[in-house]
């Protein structure tokens, strides 16, 4: 049994997290947390519902960054024409999540905070780069994408902290992106997913579903051979096996999806450089 709190401000939410720390959990969308609660796989003393905190409900798109507050729904970001135009990889990845009803309630920040090793949003966050804004007992801090994911479903957040906003870096002009995943059914959890970002010569690949956290590679020589670049990355992966796929199959998927995603991203990069 848990106590339920519905703070009206970030300060109030932070104060509750400071007071109740390890016993408290933040709930925004709840589309991952409530399944865990229903399955009794998580024990919560204090549920802190931040859906009424209006400060957390905005999304801002600029040429450099997309800033998404903690209560912004996945559907709102998916439906944003500005996001689709400036940061199509985020739009692509969102369409792979859950199902329409899940995305009506689930949040983008929730996907980051959950730190699912097969998560689409963590893949995109790792490939684009960005930061997470966090509020805790000691005030505010920023955590970079390379430091945020610590292990499976474990992040660098402390017990008294909540994420208030995630910032994705917007790809610069001439940069192409792509996100591809394979899953048992359309909206299932990814068996393997890849986010690719490239300027035509160098790039970054972020793989999910193949390790305890997103696995990120900076690649070069793409105008020479995509296949060689991806082979080099995949050789260092140690993907887990489970009931959905063996480690060997995940390794194979990593190669195929890595090549496909990079090829797609390269084509888009070239198209955007040609059109100027």
């Amino acid at each position: 049994m848990f106590a339920y709190h519905r703070p009206a401000s970030v300060a109030e939410a932070a104060s509750l997290m400071t007071q109740y720390g390890p016993e408290a959990r933040i709930i925004a969308g709840g589309q991952s947390l409530i399944p865990m609660m229903n399955a009794r796989s998580v024990s919560i003393g204090h549920l802190v519902d931040i859906n009424d905190v209006s400060e957390l409900g905005s999304m801002r798109v600029s040429p450099e960054a997309i800033r998404i507050g903690a209560t912004v729904r996945q559907r709102a970001v998916e439906r944003s024409e500005e996001v689709a135009r400036r940061c199509s990889i985020l739009h692509e990845a969102l369409r792979c999540i859950g199902s329409p009803a899940i995305r009506n309630r689930g949040t983008v920040v929730g996907c980051i905070a959950l730190a699912d090793p097969a998560g689409e949003i963590p893949a995109v966050f790792s490939a684009l780069g960005g930061t997470v804004a966090v509020r805790g007992a000691k005030g505010e801090r920023q955590i970079g994408n390379e430091d945020f994911f610590v292990g499976p479903f474990r992040s660098a957040l402390r017990a008294d902290e909540l994420v208030t906003e995630v910032r994705f870096n917007v790809p610069g002009p001439g940069v192409g992106t792509a996100f591809i995943e394979v899953s048992p059914r359309l909206h299932d959890r990814a068996t393997c997913g890849v986010a690719a970002v490239t300027d035509g010569t160098t790039g970054r690949l972020a793989f999910v579903g193949v390790g305890p956290t997103p696995v990120v590679f900076d690649v070069t020589g793409l105008s020479h051979s995509i296949s060689l670049a991806v082979t080099g990355c995949v050789a260092t992966l140690e993907p887990p096996g489970d009931i959905h796929a063996t480690g060997a199959y995940r390794r194979r998927l990593s190669y195929v999806l890595g090549v496909r995603a990079l090829e797609k991203a390269m084509r888009r990069s070239e198209a955007s450089r040609v059109s100027g």
């Binding site: 409530i34 229903n38 399955a39 329409p100 009803a101 309630r105």
Partner: protein, 164 residues
């Protein structure tokens, strides 16, 4: 002392409801158990089967993934609100019947809620758009093809001026 219950006020199928509920009570359980609206079904409590889907302020939501206290001030519509009257089926329900898209009926309320949202936003959906719009609803009986046919049939009846 922990507060284990909380008062909540919200609309269900147009009527104002006020209740003192346990904070742990799921919306699906409140609708079924406290209000007797058993058209909403509970299949998985994980959000993957779709049988618990209701409308919250016009948008499809999984009622098994909402605490009742979280719909304070909102407007919830269940499958019971879909028919114009209890005697007449609405065009989507009629189409499901005609296209043999119902067998045991467990998934049907969720599919009809999803179809109502899809057809509200897209008067002449393609097969691919229907499949994307109804994603997240599982049927163990029909094999889905008649469900897709039913949505096409409903679209043609609701928007005869559109489409193929």
């Amino acid at each position: 002392m922990r507060s284990l219950t909380r008062q909540v006020t919200f609309r269900v199928n147009g009527e104002l409801v006020t209740a003192e509920v346990s904070v742990r009570c799921l919306l699906s359980d409140f609708l079924r158990g406290s209000l007797g609206l058993t058209g909403t079904h509970v299949g998985c409590e994980r959000g993957v089967c779709g049988s618990c889907t209701v409308l919250v302020d016009g948008e499809a939501h999984r009622s098994c993934l909402l605490l009742t206290v979280q719909v304070e001030g909102r407007s919830v519509a269940t499958i019971e609100s879909i028919a114009e009257t209890s005697a007449d089926l609405n065009p989507i329900q009629q189409a499901f019947r005609e296209a043999h898209a119902v067998q045991c009926g467990f998934c049907t309320p969720g599919f009809i809620i999803a179809a109502s949202v899809l057809l509200r936003e897209n008067a002449n959906p393609t097969d691919a758009e229907i499949i994307a719009g109804l994603a997240g609803h599982m049927c163990r009986c029909t094999g889905y093809q008649n469900i897709v046919r039913a949505v096409h049939l409903a679209a043609s009846k609701m928007y005869p001026q559109c489409g193929s």
